[in-house]
């Protein structure tokens, strides 16, 4: 073996080892949380409210709260995101306006989540006087999810072959008919994948809900959209940093982390399973 | 004397038997065209000579492939040494996103030749050989991507010539070019034949007829007929060959 080959072998081995480290990091993080958290998980943990300074009881209100926020944000983000994705991809020609909209979407996607939190607080909580409420939090999270939904919708539409559209036009269908009857049905599974992914993103966000909805401690369940709620990520933050008795809240924190991670990962996994299924189906056709 | 020879070669991809017991001998200073329907194994066959098939994980082969009296698949020989001795031109012009000069110099540089005078001389020689020198001699620093498609393909040929190969493989070298560029490439191949042995995959039978001395017809992984081009096109020995070249296939 000469130097050229030897060099290649060494460099590739280093790359391999480094990527092994990356994979190991994930395994360690997940393993750690599962290993430590599994002990805290019980039926009671999942179904009751925290008590005794959050050292006992469960996280049920936080689970419900996160559910409310996810649903609320999606009610806003799905229709707006999908419609605007359709408009940008199907209606706009390549002009400055489309470029502008794209740029704005990208910018919005790049805005740090804490800025969303600030914005939500300034607009929804203070200016529109929603107060700290599910409404304000959901809208904030919805705006956060919006660029993700738009971009994934666009991607899904891009994957629809142009031939299908032209074929439909050639048969005398109008643009809306083409979109409704040809484009959307084909793009639907991919759009769905995108939506699931955005749910995954929203359910783990903390910063945007800090000042718009999240309650430090609120053992009852919300009754209307103007109520505050607890949320899993924020609850984990609270347990991890500001519990009254750190030693005793730790197991609760591990448990909460495990629940949160499981929820997010299950959502993401189902998205990627769905995607794989679609790909397989497309391959068969 | 340049020789390329293939003896009893079988190739598999997973369970697909892509080449079945093919034996063929190539004469020096000739152009041999490989024809046959898509998926007949002609590209696989072409890529045996510089072991490009090795890039495909499921690739398996037995038999011998000799280039210049060296066993290409012998354990002792280095793969990049083989590839250096065998030039390859691809279907679509694929210049690197570098300057014209650096494209041609690439093969030298990766093989450790960095002497400025040598590199410059080789680049000029290769560009002259590929009939591109007069068109690009003043813009050698320009990006290769700014050339026209036909020029790009001739640049790719120059790039292959720079490492002084014995054998040149061409995988449908003119299939993406307009007729005028195609004609120039064909002329070039005709010139190169004086110095090199060329194996050419083509779907264009007229092209095979125009530029090749010998033609091999592949079908379903088998070498059906190997003959003088004129003979094969006027009176093929095999009825399958005739059916293929006359378009009565099926």
């Amino acid at each position: 073996m000469d130097t050229k080959q030897l060099k290649q072998k060494i460099v590739f081995t280093i790359f391999g080892m480094m990527s092994f480290v990356v994979v190991a990091i994930l395994v360690i993080i997940l393993g750690f949380i599962v290993f430590r958290g599994i002990g805290a998980i019980s039926w009671e943990f999942l179904t009751t409210a925290p008590k005794d300074g959050m050292t006992k009881g469960g996280i049920f209100p936080a689970i419900v709260g996160t559910g409310c926020l996810v649903i609320g944000s999606m009610i806003f983000a799905f229709p707006v995101g999908i419609l605007s994705g359709i408009y940008i991809h199907e209606y706009l020609p390549e002009n400055w306006w489309k470029k502008f909209l794209r740029m704005m979407t990208n910018n919005l996607a790049g805005v740090p989540s804490i800025v969303f939190g600030l914005f939500g607080m300034a607009l929804f909580v203070n200016y529109l006087k929603f107060g700290d409420s599910i409404l304000a939090g959901s809208l904030t999270l919805g705006i956060l999810a919006l660029p993700v939904v738009i971009r994934l919708t666009e991607e899904a539409l891009k994957a629809v072959p142009d031939g299908l559209r032209l074929g439909s036009y050639a048969l005398g269908a109008s643009k809306i008919q083409t979109i409704q009857k040809v484009v959307l049905p084909v793009a639907f599974p991919n759009i769905l994948t995108g939506l699931i992914l955005s749910i995954g993103r929203v359910s783990g966000e903390t910063a945007p809900i800090l000042f718009t909805v999240a309650a430090y401690f609120l053992p009852r369940l919300p009754e209307s959209i103007s109520d505050q709620v607890m949320a899993l990520p924020y609850h984990l933050y609270v347990l991890a940093t500001s519990g009254t008795n750190m030693e005793e809240t730790r197991p609760m924190a591990y448990g909460t982390a495990l629940v949160l991670v499981s929820i997010v990962l299950i959502i993401n996994l189902s998205a990627s399973l769905l995607r794989r299924k679609i790909q397989k189906k497309n391959k068969m056709n | 004397m340049t020789h390329a020879e293939v003896k009893n070669v079988n190739v598999w991809y997973d369970t697909i038997h892509a080449l079945k017991d093919v034996s063929l001998k190539f004469e020096p200073n000739t152009v041999t065209a490989l024809i046959g329907p898509s998926g007949c194994g002609k590209s696989t066959f072409l890529r045996l000579f510089n072991r490009m098939n090795d890039l495909i994980p499921s690739f398996r082969m037995d038999g011998t492939v000799m280039v210049n009296n060296q066993d290409v698949y012998s354990k002792e020989i280095r793969i990049d040494e083989i590839r250096k001795n065998v030039g390859m031109v691809f279907q679509k012009p694929n210049p690197f996103p570098k300057s014209i000069f650096e494209n041609v110099a690439y093969g030298l540089r990766v093989n450790g030749i960095n002497n400025k005078a040598v590199v410059e001389e080789t680049v000029e020689r290769s560009l002259r050989q590929s009939a591109l020198w007069d068109e690009v001699k003043d813009v050698l620093k320009k990006s290769a991507l700014e050339l026209s498609g036909g020029q790009q393909q001739r640049l790719c040929i120059a790039r292959a010539l720079a490492v002084e190969p014995k054998l040149i493989l061409m995988d449908e070298p003119a299939s993406s070019l307009d007729p005028i560029s195609t004609a120039r490439i064909e002329e070039l191949i005709f010139e190169l034949k004086k110095t090199y042995t060329i194996i050419l995959v083509t779907h264009n039978l007229q092209q095979a007829g125009r530029i090749s001395d010998l033609t091999a017809f592949f079908y379903l992984g088998e070498l059906i007929e190997y003959n003088l081009t004129k003979k094969l096109f006027l009176n093929p020995d095999n009825v399958q060959t005739q059916n293929y070249i006359t378009g009565r296939f099926g």
Binding site: K4, V11, F12, F15, G16, M18, S19, V22, V23, I25, L26, I29, F32, I33, L83, S84, Y87, M103, M104, N107, L108, G110, P112, S113, I114, V115, G117, L118, M121, A122, L123, I176, R201, G204, T206, A207, L210, P233, L236, Y237, T241, A257, V261, L265, N268 | P57, R83, M88, F90, N94, F96, P97, K98, Y106, G107, V110, N111, C156, A160, V163
Partner: protein, 403 residues
């Protein structure tokens, strides 16, 4: 086409159009609200409402900046000469200091006599500086109310002190946070770049198909974990580890933040960079290999140069993710607002500051405004990042179109 159908199509198009404007509208609204709230910081004097700063009439210092004020009350400045005034040592007087100067009888049980006493005191003490509620200032005040300069942009950005709640005067210098943000981000990139690139290269160039199909979801999973979980992990594992490893008093350091952020930036980097590497046409690789280049040479001379712009996009996007990240950093960097240039000291980033302090502010107060101003800085950072991604993409498109 019937009329009804035409109207229907018009309506649908209208709905689609208005949906598409919502993102732009939101971005504009974000800008408007951030500036609306943030700009207030530069329009008001930073002192508390209804409080005034006053000096003796003999005093020649015309105006005073909030930093100077803070220095005076911290006793860093003790003579008016230091501020360009007369050579008088500074005597601070706040409500808390009264008992040292006046007796209770002099002031009366409800401080009725205080304004008058104050006038006398000010007349006789040229070096005095008062910080008092307006109600104690007599009508015929013998002293001079000295205006406090508004906070300037330069003070805001380069001010080294962030004491948003100190009295008499809060200080809003965000330099520590800028340094903290940049250091943590830089550290994160330093960590994520080699590992991210190595992983991307390994996945797209070296690993076999089977290994890739395992690794890709793993990296995607890494992207899916919520940031607060990373923060939690950092807090309970990384922080104690760093503390023990370097023998520090506290483990919450820039280093901890960098590592956690680096891990979080990894998936973005790997995914984008791998896409970029994969976008290199197969034929280019083959051409290079066919010329006798080794895989390594092909990688560094052909694949990476071709994917250059995609890789830079990956790095920038990773940076963007790291700069804006809030919760994880908040949990592991120790929340110190002192300027710190060491990786083994605590620090605080801009997003973490906002997250930590916004809950304690009153709506419309100076502190509230200051946090929004901080958010503007952060927003500008990310806008710059996004625009540079855009520029790189466009340049790349041009290059490819030429080809």
């Amino acid at each position: 086409m019937t009329k009804a159908r035409r109207i229907y199509e018009k309506i649908v198009t209208g709905i689609l159009f208005s949906s598409s404007t919502i993102t732009s509208l939101t971005v504009i609204l974000i800008v408007v609200f951030l500036f609306r709230e943030g700009i207030g910081l530069f329009n008001t004097t930073p002192t508390e409402k209804n409080y005034v700063i006053a000096v003796s009439r003999q005093n020649t210092v015309p105006v005073i900046t909030s930093n100077e004020l803070a220095d005076i009350f911290n006793q860093d400045i003790t003579n008016w000469k230091q501020l360009g005034g007369r050579n008088d040592s500074i005597i601070r007087l706040t409500l808390n200091d009264l008992s040292g100067i006046f007796t209770e009888e002099e002031l009366g049980p409800n401080l009725e006599n205080f304004p008058q006493k104050l006038n006398e005191y000010v007349k006789t003490t040229p070096g005095v500086i008062l910080y008092l509620s307006k109600e104690y200032i007599p009508k015929n005040f013998a002293g001079r109310i000295i205006p406090v300069k508004k906070i300037s942009l330069l003070d805001f950005i380069f001010g080294k002190h962030w004491y948003p709640t100190s009295t008499p005067i809060p200080q809003f210098g965000i330099w520590p946070m800028i340094v903290g943000t940049l250091m943590v981000t830089f550290g994160a990139i330093l960590f994520a770049l080699p590992f991210g690139m190595a992983t991307a290269i390994f996945m797209s160039e070296i690993a076999g198909n089977r290994l890739r199909t395992i690794m890709k979801p793993v990296v995607e999973l890494l992207a899916g974990i919520p940031s607060v979980v990373y923060g939690f992990f950092g807090l309970v594992v990384l922080v104690p580890l760093i503390q023990r490893l370097f023998g520090l008093d506290v483990g919450e350091t820039v280093l901890a933040g960098s590592i956690v952020l680096g891990i979080m930036a990894l998936p973005t980097m790997v995914t984008v960079a791998e896409d970029a590497l994969n976008s290199t046409p197969k034929s280019l690789r083959e051409a290079s290999l066919a010329l006798g280049a080794s895989e390594l040479q092909t990688l560094f001379r052909v694949v990476i140069p071709y994917a250059k712009s995609g890789i830079s996009t990956a790095v920038i996007l990773g940076t963007g993710r790291a700069i804006g990240e809030t919760m994880a950093v908040l949990m592991v960097t120790g929340n110190s607002t002192h300027v710190n240039y060491s990786f083994l000291q605590p620090t605080r980033t801009i997003p973490a500051t906002i997250a930590a302090e916004l809950g304690d502010t009153s709506f419309g107060g100076v502190h509230y405004n200051a946090l929004f101003a901080l958010a503007i800085v952060l927003f500008l950072f990310t806008i710059i990042i996004n625009l540079s991604v855009e520029v790189i993409k466009n340049r790349n498109k041009e290059v490819n179109q030429r080809g």
